[in-house]
Amino acid sequence: MNETEISIKNFSLYIENRQILKNISVDIPKNQITAIIGPSGCGKTTLLRSINRMVDLYTPVLAEGEIIINGKNVLDPDINLSLLRKNVGMIAQAPNPLPLSIYDNVVYGLRIHGIHERSALDTRAEQCLQSVGLWSEVHDRLKDPASQLSLGQQQRLCLARALAVEPEILLCDETTSALDPISARHIENELICLKNDYTIVFVTHILRQAKRLADYVVFLYLGELVEHGPAHEVFTNPQDPRTKAYLEGVFG
């Protein structure tokens, strides 16, 4: 039996009086890659952004139910968002380097969380850039603007930046969709290496990618959780006719 990292219970979410997510309950296993799949507009991003409480950054939302991480409900209005997001990293759909140098991007989160000692920052920056395979490409130009990197490098930089603050969970929102196939594979391979130490939730609408990466699968359709289970079970023997149809490519 696998340990649960994120426990979502009867979670519903409304934006502007429209119900976007409908009564979702699922336990996301620790140290595995969980793929959230489903056609576009079904609420994948919204669910992911609920887990680190980014949904309500720019728009007011109404949430019901619970999302439990380390015994705490992240929907609790009193939760320390800074610590939550330190623990739950996120890598966006399109690479979003900060308007800083490569080095300052990687250590941005460390500085936010109070680490300013130069040697500590240096060590951590090198470690994180190493672990995403970027160190050899950038070690001699750490002071250059991050925006000068190629898209694929930028996305790996974003991954390194997320790793720097030592989260337990990584949320990836179609993290490879803006990249060329080779860079995309790069990221995929790094995620596979990382899953020993991190719980990874990976949103994708590409079935083949989900099959390559996922240990556990969550299928969303029109804001509803239709089916979830270990990847091989869901992919080889889907229980719900909608999952079957989706896997056969009926909704594209």
Binding site: N52, M54, L57, Y58, T59, P60, L81, S82, L83, L84, R85, K86, G89, M90, A92, A94, N96, P97, L98, P99, L100, S101, Y108, G109, I112, H113, P145, A146, S147, C158, R161, A162, V165
Partner: protein
């Protein structure tokens, strides 16, 4: 002929005409000021204060007004920036739908539309109430007062163009709103903020009405913030209103000096904002 092609030609013609009017006005203003001013432009204009009888055609220059204007505009822009940037930061903390933020923005837009003379009159009332004299200090206050709404809105607009995905990157690492606005939004908006500040400097240095009652006028270079101070726009005004053609000519020469200062500011702002775009994300 095809109606759509005719339309295309018509609007193209219209655009040429507008462009011609805009450029034509600009070039003729420059040309007139330069043609009329060049004969009286000499080195003592910018190195000497007015000698006795300057406004009757005597010797000297307008160094008092040049230095005065620089002091006044620099002081006012620094003060206005210190007030405007935190205000703009504060406005970023509200969602786009916020009623408070949008009414503040409307109020600032209205304030930016109020003629600077009114700000001058307002500060003059305060001065009368406090029974103080016109000085560099009150001039700075007045100019800062009419620059604050302009500058706040300009900085606010620049900050609003910062992509959400950059802010997301910062929030996702656990940064607070303040940290995000401080480190990310300001960094990304820096070239635009610099441009806004230097445009404000240009506005401040060129404004005559706001300092008419509040800054006073003197032939000496101010040595203290409580001294009255001469400004270039008023120097131009006083010289133009004399009946002597050679003094009027000096007004145009002073105009050239003012134009050059504003030009240097514009070029400087271009240069600086280029320099600070290095790290910005396109």
């Amino acid at each position: 002929m095809d109606r759509r092609i005719a339309e295309e030609r018509f609007f193209k013609g219209l655009m040429y005409v507008s462009l011609f009017i805009v450029l034509g006005c600009l070039i003729s203003v420059f040309a007139i000021v330069i043609i009329k001013g060049i004969p009286s432009l000499n080195i003592s204009m910018v190195t000497e204060t007015p000698h006795g009888g300057y406004y009757l055609g005597g010797g000297g220059g307008i160094l008092n007004a040049i230095v005065g204007s620089l002091y006044l505009a620099a002081g006012a822009v620094i003060l206005a920036t210190i007030i405007s940037i935190p205000t703009a930061w504060y406005l970023q903390n509200f969602p786009r739908s916020s009623r408070f933020a949008s009414s503040t923005r409307i109020l600032l837009d209205i304030a930016a539309g109020i003629p600077s003379l009114i700000y001058g009159a307002f500060v003059f009332l305060i001065m009368v109430f406090l029974q103080t004299e016109a000085s560099l200090f009150w001039g700075i206050i007045t100019v800062a007062l009419f620059l604050v709404p302009l500058l706040t809105r300009a900085v606010d607009e620049v900050m609003q163009t910062v992509p959400k995905k950059l802010m997301d990157a910062s929030y996702a690492l656990g940064a607070t709103k303040l940290e995000t606005v401080f480190h990310v939004v300001t960094k990304q908006a820096l070239p635009g903020i610099l441009t806004a500040v230097l445009v404000a400097f240009g506005r401040g240095i060129g404004d005559a009405a706001s300092v008419l009652f509040t800054a006073g006028y003197t032939d000496a270079i101010p040595v203290s913030i409580t001294d009255p101070v001469a400004t270039l726009p008023l120097a131009i005004f006083f010289q133009l209103s004399t009946p002597f053609p050679e003094v009027q000519e000096r007004a145009y020469a002073s105009g050239i000096i003012l134009l050059v200062i504003v030009l240097i500011t514009c070029v400087g702002s271009r240069y600086l904002s280029k320099k600070f775009t290095k790290y910005c994300v396109k």
